[in-house]
């Protein structure tokens, strides 16, 4: 019998939403369209229109050793051209941001090629070849994993994910990379991800409503859906915990 890939257990709303994020066959909903040049400005690694800097010659010009793995794995565009590795880092508020770091890690590993990702308490970094990183950043700013008010693009000093929101409903940022434009009712970036001021504000759209956020949440929360109410999720988590405790990363060695 052919194995059919499964993504996440459970029948609760966050479990269903997690499955959507993880499943590469599910097309994440596009909610906004931030121009590519503006994404490049927010990332701050190069100026729009500037050439990509490279760290090695294009792969075509390299004398690659005769290796079956190299022949099997198709390099991503940036790797072919020899681009630098650059990063983007998203911070997710605990107050109903659509995604959370561990979910992002699983989602990226499930959907993207050629990345290195790291999870921290409130943020998730993607390291990738520059031109591919820009495409990925745009995709994940435009789609339903991003909320302008409760998700931040922050390269350094990301503190704020566990703080209360400010009076405008934005996640706290000590460097104030983005601000509330009351006239337009939109959030706009005035600094890049490491807080270097931008020439002009870049709008990333209107914050999502609370109702939408709660319907699209991937968080199990005591004031939302409690993880203990989803028996299958609990059973799976306890199984992982038990196997880790008993045999570390050698779960295959445990005889049940």
């Amino acid at each position: 019998m052919a194995y059919k890939r499964q993504f996440y257990p459970g029948t609760s709303l966050p479990a269903k939403n997690r499955r959507k994020f993880y499943d590469p066959n599910y097309k994440l909903e596009k909610l906004r369209d931030v121009a590519m040049d503006d994404v490049v400005r927010i990332l701050g690694h190069r100026k729009p229109g500037e050439d990509y800097k490279s760290i090695h010659p294009p792969l075509d010009e390299c004398n690659e050793p005769d290796c079956p793995v190299r022949q099997m794995v198709v390099p991503i565009e940036g790797a072919k051209k020899g681009d630098r590795i650059r990063y983007v880092q998203f911070t997710d508020s605990v107050y109903w941001a659509p995604a959370i770091p561990y979910i992002r890690a699983n989602m990226y590993m499930s959907r993207l090629r050629g990345i290195d990702t790291g999870t921290l308490s409130g943020r998730q970094i993607i390291e990738m070849r520059e031109r591919d990183l820009e495409k990925v950043s745009k995709e994940y700013i435009d789609n339903e994993t991003f909320d302008p008010a409760r998700t931040g693009i922050r390269g350094a000093t990301v503190h704020g994910h566990a703080c209360r929101l400010d009076e405008n409903g934005l996640m706290f940022d000590a460097w104030q990379r983005y601000r509330w434009n009351a006239k337009k009712g939109e959030v706009e970036y005035v600094k890049d991800q490491v807080a270097i001021p931008l020439d002009k504000p870049i709008s990333v759209g209107k914050p999502m409503e609370d109702k939408w956020l709660k319907a699209h949440t991937t968080m199990f929360r005591a004031d939302g859906v409690d993880m203990r109410d989803d028996a299958e999720v609990m059973a799976q988590n306890l199984r992982i915990h038990r196997l880790r405790t008993l045999c570390g990363y050698q779960s295959f060695a445990q005889k049940e």
Binding site: G155, A156, T157, H159, G160, C163, R164, L165, D166, E167, G169, F172, A174, W175, Q176, R179, V194, A195, I196
Partner: protein, 140 residues
């Protein structure tokens, strides 16, 4: 006859205002002035919250001004005070323990007016009111 130990100082009560959102400088200014003006027996108000640094302290822009619009000078009781926080907690010290209930009611009505997003109030003591052993050892 044994020497009597020095009498313990009685801590003054504090009312903790815990807003559901971090407060803008403008709201903080209004709230503090209203409490000082309208609530009797207020001895002292302390605020705490999230620090807003004057300059970027990390990354490639280290040393550049952070220019957070909420880090600014506010006027409290006619005096200019530099607010370096996005305020998340306000502690109002009441100098008369018999008037705590009345002060609490007045603070609640001010908060109802100024903090429409919600808040909670508590009475307790949240800061030290007498020197600690560490203070003694450090000769403070």
């Amino acid at each position: 006859m044994a020497k009597k130990p020095p009498q313990e100082q009685i801590p003054l009560p504090e009312v903790l205002i815990f807003p559901a959102r971090l407060l803008k400088a403008e709201t903080t200014e209004k709230l503090l002035n209203r409490i000082y003006d309208d609530v009797p027996h207020v001895r002292h108000i302390t605020v705490s919250g999230e620090s807003l640094p004057a300059t970027l302290n990390a990354g490639p822009g280290k040393g550049l001004p952070a220019e957070h619009p909420e880090r600014r000078i506010i006027k409290v009781k006619g005096q200019e005070v530099e607010l370096r926080l996005l305020v998340g907690r306000v502690f109002v010290e009441i100098d008369d323990i018999d008037n705590v209930d009345d002060s609490l009611a007045r603070i609640e009505s001010i908060c109802n007016e100024l903090l429409p997003f919600g808040f909670s109030l508590e009475v307790g003591r949240y800061s030290k009111f007498k020197p600690t052993v560490t203070d003694y050892k450090k000769c403070r």
